[in-house]
C-alpha cells in the first residue's frame, strides 16, 4: 500500500463528503463494518442510527424531499438490503433522489449462498433508477460520483451501490468529483422551442383552460414553483395540483382549485372534465388522477411537460408533448407569452370562472362537527389554522388521514409536504418526519398518522427518542384501517374483513416509555387544547386523537368512474353504484 492509498471505505466517505452529504441514515451489520469504521474515524458526516432499514430509506426520503438534496442510506448485506426494498420502490415511484449503499459479502463468496448474502443488484434492479455492484476498488470513486449524478439528474430516483466487504477494505486511490467525466447519462433539460411556441399559442387561445401540475414541479426546484405561480397568475387561469404537487402553487391563492383526483375537490375534477385546454406540468396522468380513461377530459387539447419521455403518452395521448425540465419549460413559456404579447380571452375566461364558482359553491369539503364525537376533518382544519404562520413541515402515512390532510392542510411553498403517493406505503410518515426533522432541527415537523400506519414503523420512536428529534405524531385514531374499511363499505357490502384494529397500545403510555409526551382526547372541545399543547411542547409528542370510526373520505371518484361522476358524501352512493369493471380496479 503506497502512502497515498486509502481503503475502499475511506474512499466512500471521501466521495460522500465531496458530494456535500451531511447525514447518513443507516444500520450496521457484518458486511458494512469497514464503512462504519471509516465513519467512526471522521467528523464531517453525521450518522443517524435507525431501528430498521426500511425506516432509514423513508427517513432519507423525508430528508431529500424537504431539502431538495440527495438522501443517503447505509445498510448491510442480505436482510439489510431486502428491508430497504420497500423504501427504494417508494422513492422510485415518487421520483426521490436516494443513494443506498448496501454491504455485500466479499467478492469471492458472491453466488455462494454465503451468510447474509442476497442478490442485491438483482432484487433492486426493477425498484431503482440504476444500481451498481462494485467489484474492484479502482471503480469505486467513479461509481460513487456517477451514482449521485444519476440519482439527482433528469427524473430523480433511488440508486443502489452494492459494496462487497473486500472492496471496502482494499487499498485504492480516490478521484475527486471534478475529475470524473460524466458523459453517460445526460437527460434533456431544454425543451424544443417550436413546441413551446405551439403550446403557448394553444394556451392563449383557450376558453376553458386548466393547469394540472404535479411533483415534477417540486423536483425541478423552488424556482420552478415560482415560475409556475408567475405563469398561472399571468394567464389568470385556474390551477389544480396532484397529491405529489401540493405546495408547487400557493394553496391560499384564489386561482387554486385544490387537489384533483380520486379524493380531489369537486371544482378541480369538474374543471378537468370540462376543460378545452389542459396544461399538464410535471404530472403523469396516474390512474388516481384520470379516473376512467375513456371519459377523461373529453374534448380537451392536452399539453404535457415532463423530463421523462416515458411519462408522455403512457396513459393518455397528448397533443403537444414537451420533453424537458419544468423550470426551463416554464421560463420559455413565460418569455414566449410576453414576447408575443398574448392576452387571454377575457369574456370566455369570465364565463369559465363563473362556472367554476358554481362548482365551488357545492363546497365539496364541507362537514359538520357534532358535539359528542370528533370529526377528522375538524382536527385538520384546526391544525391548519394553528400552524399556518409557523415554519411547518407535514408528513403523512397512507390512508384516509392522508387524503384528509391533503384536503384540509394548505401549502404555500414546495418541499413542505411529504407523503407516499405512488407506492402508498403505510409506515412512511414517522421515519420520513424523522428525516425532515434532522434536516430542519428548529422547524415544526408533524406526522399526520392513522393508528394502523403508525404501528407499521413505530420502532423508529426509539430513534426519535435517541436523537431528541421533536417530531409531533398526530394520530387520527379511528380503530380501523379506515380506507380499507371505507372500500369494504362501498364495494363489499360492509363486510369489514380484518380491517379493525384490535389490541392497540395505549399511545400515551407508549410515548412515556420512549420519554416522549403523550396526549389523548375523545372530545371535540378539547381538540384545540391538545393541538396547541402538541405544537408548543418542546420535545417529541404522540397525540392520540380518537375520531368518529365511521367517517368516510369524500368527495370521491369511485374506481372506474369519470371525473364528473363524483360521490360528494355518504348519501350520494346509492344513486351511482360502482360498476363491475370498477370493482376490479384498486
Amino acid at each position: 500500500m503506497s502512502t497515498t492509498q486509502i481503503s475502499g471505505a475511506e474512499i466512500i466517505l471521501k466521495a460522500l463528503a465531496d458530494q456535500g452529504v451531511e447525514v447518513i441514515f443507516g444500520y450496521p451489520g457484518g458486511a458494512v463494518l469497514p464503512i462504519y469504521d471509516a465513519i467512526f474515524n471522521q467528523n464531517q458526516i453525521r450518522h443517524i442510527l435507525v431501528r430498521q432499514e426500511g425506516g432509514a430509506v423513508h427517513a432519507a426520503e423525508g430528508y431529500a424531499r424537504s431539502t431538495g438534496k440527495v438522501g443517503v442510506v447505509l445498510v448491510t448485506s442480505g436482510p439489510g438490503a431486502t428491508n430497504a426494498v420497500t423504501g427504494l420502490t417508494d422513492a422510485l415511484m415518487d421520483s426521490i433522489p436516494i443513494i443506498c449503499l448496501t454491504g455485500q459479502v466479499p467478492t469471492h463468496l458472491i453466488g455462494n449462498d454465503a451468510f447474509q448474502e442476497c442478490d442485491t443488484t438483482g432484487i433492486t434492479r426493477p425498484c431503482t433508477k440504476h444500481n451498481y455492484l462494485v467489484k474492484d476498488v479502482k471503480d469505486l470513486s467513479h461509481v460513487m460520483h456517477e451514482a449521485f449524478h444519476v440519482a439527482r439528474s433528469g427524473r430523480p430516483g433511488p440508486v443502489v451501490i452494492d459494496l462487497p466487504k473486500d472492496v471496502c477494505m482494499a487499498p485504492g486511490d480516490y478521484t475527486p468529483k471534478e475529475e470524473i467525466p460524466l458523459k453517460k447519462y445526460q437527460p434533456r433539460l431544454s425543451p424544443d422551442s417550436d413546441k413551446i411556441a405551439e403550446a403557448v399559442e394553444l394556451i392563449a387561445s383557450a376558453k376553458k383552460p386548466v393547469f394540472y401540475c404535479g411533483g415534477g414541479v417540486i423536483n425541478s426546484g423552488p424556482e420552478a414553483s415560482r415560475l409556475l405561480t408567475e405563469f398561472v397568475r399571468t394567464t389568470g387561469y385556474p390551477c389544480t395540483l396532484t397529491l405529489m404537487g401540493l405546495g408547487a402553487y400557493p394553496s391560499s391563492d384564489k386561482q387554486f382549485l385544490g387537489m384533483l383526483g380520486m379524493h380531489g375537490t369537486y371544482e378541480a375534477n369538474m374543471s378537468m372534465h370540462d376543460c378545452d385546454v389542459m396544461v399538464c406540468i410535471g404530472a403523469r396522468f396516474d390512474d388516481r388522477i384520470t379516473g376512467r380513461l375513456d371519459a377523461f377530459a373529453p374534448g380537451s387539447k392536452k399539453i404535457h411537460v415532463d423530463i421523462d419521455p416515458s411519462s408522455i403518452n403512457k396513459n393518455v395521448k397528448v397533443d403537444i408533448p414537451i420533453v424537458g425540465d419544468v423550470a426551463h419549460a416554464l421560463r420559455e413559456m413565460i418569455d414566449c407569452w410576453k414576447a408575443k404579447k398574448y392576452k387571454p380571452d377575457a369574456a370566455a375566461l369570465d364565463k369559465w370562472w363563473a362556472q367554476i364558482a358554481d362548482w365551488r359553491a357545492v363546497d365539496s369539503l364541507k362537514f359538520t362537527q357534532p358535539k359528542d364525537i370528533i370529526k377528522p376533518q375538524y382536527v385538520l382544519q384546526r391544525l391548519q389554522e394553528l400552524t399556518k404562520d409557523k415554519d411547518t413541515y407535514i408528513t403523512t402515512e397512507v390512508g384516509q388521514h392522508q387524503m384528509w390532510a391533503a384536503q384540509y392542510i394548505g401549502f404555500d411553498e414546495p418541499n413542505r409536504w411529504m407523503t407516499s403517493g405512488g407506492l402508498g406505503t403505510m409506515g412512511y410518515g414517522l421515519p420520513a418526519a424523522m428525516g425532515v426533522q434532522v434536516a430542519h432541527p428548529d422547524s415544526l415537523v408533524i406526522d399526520i398518522s392513522g393508528e394502523a400506519s403508525f404501528l407499521m414503523n413505530m420502532q423508529e420512536l426509539s430513534t426519535i427518542s435517541q436523537y431528541r428529534l421533536p417530531v409531533k405524531c398526530l394520530i387520527l385514531n379511528n380503530f380501523y384501517m379506515g380506507m380499507v374499511r371505507q372500500w369494504q363499505e362501498l364495494l363489499h357490502g360492509g363486510r369489514y374483513a380484518e380491517s379493525y384494529m384490535e389490541s392497540l397500545p395505549d399511545f400515551v403510555k407508549l410515548a412515556d416509555t420512549f420519554g416522549m409526551t403523550g396526549l389523548r382526547t375523545t372530545k371535540p372541545d378539547e381538540v384545540d387544547d391538545i393541538l396547541k399543547e402538541m405544537i408548543e411542547t418542546d420535545g417529541p409528542v404522540i397525540a392520540d386523537v380518537q375520531i368518529d370510526p365511521t367517517e368516510n373520505c369524500f368527495p370521491m371518484i369511485p374506481s372506474g368512474a369519470a371525473h364528473n361522476e363524483m360521490l360528494l358524501g355518504p348519501d350520494d352512493k346509492a344513486a351511482k353504484p360502482i360498476s363491475e369493471e370498477g370493482m376490479v380496479l384498486v
Binding site: R155, D294, D308, S310
Partner: protein, 170 residues
C-alpha cells in the same frame, strides 16, 4: 381521445454499454411491464468502447411501442434506441441451423429444397444433414415448414439482427 388498438411488429436496435446486468435490465423491463419479445439478439459490436447492440423484435399498439422505446431510452447504460421499422428501410437477417434426419427420397428432397433456399449443408452423416440458412424470419419459417415432413429433428436460430439501409447508422 382514441386509443389505437392496431398491433404492429417493430424491430428496435439498442446500443448499450457491455456491462454486467445490462441484458437483465432490458429483459426485466419487458417482463415487468408486460411487453412482448418476439426475438432478441445481443452481441458486442465495439470492443474498444465496450458497446453491445441489442436487436429486439417486439409487437404492440403505437402507444405501447412508443412506451417501449422511451422506457429503453431512460435506462442508464443505453446510448441509443432506434426503431428500424419506423426510421426507413432496413435489412433484417436471421441464421438458423436445421437438423434433418432421413434416408432415401426424403433425404434427396431435403437437399433439393435446401438448394432452392440457398441453404448450405454444414454437417452430414449417412442419415442426417445440418443446414445453415440465412434470411429474414419469413424465409426461415418457410424453410423449416418444408423440412418438417422430411425428418426435421432439431432447430437452432440466432434471432434477428437488423441494420438500416443507406448511409444512416446507430
Amino acid at each position: 381521445m382514441t386509443i389505437d388498438k392496431q398491433i404492429n411488429f417493430h424491430t428496435i436496435s439498442v446500443l448499450v454499454d457491455n456491462e454486467p446486468g445490462v441484458l437483465a435490465r432490458v429483459i426485466g423491463l419487458f417482463s415487468g411491464r408486460g411487453y412482448n419479445i418476439e426475438s432478441l439478439t445481443v452481441a458486442e459490436v465495439d470492443i474498444e468502447k465496450s458497446l453491445s447492440r441489442i436487436t429486439i423484435v417486439t409487437s404492440g399498439t403505437e402507444m405501447i411501442i412508443e412506451q417501449i422505446k422511451a422506457q429503453l431510452g431512460r435506462l442508464v447504460p443505453v446510448h441509443r434506441v432506434s426503431d428500424l421499422t419506423l426510421e426507413g428501410p432496413h435489412v433484417d437477417r436471421e441464421l438458423a441451423l436445421v437438423k434433418v434426419i432421413g434416408t432415401g427420397d426424403k433425404r434427396v428432397e431435403s437437399l433439393r429444397i435446401a438448394d432452392i433456399f440457398r441453404a448450405r449443408a454444414v454437417d452430414s452423416t449417412n442419415e442426417s444433414f445440418v443446414f445453415e440458412i440465412v434470411g429474414d424470419t419469413g424465409k426461415l419459417n418457410a424453410f423449416i415448414d418444408l423440412m418438417r415432413p422430411l425428418g426435421l429433428a432439431d432447430i437452432s436460430r440466432t434471432g434477428v439482427a437488423a441494420i438500416a439501409r443507406g448511409t444512416s447508422s446507430l
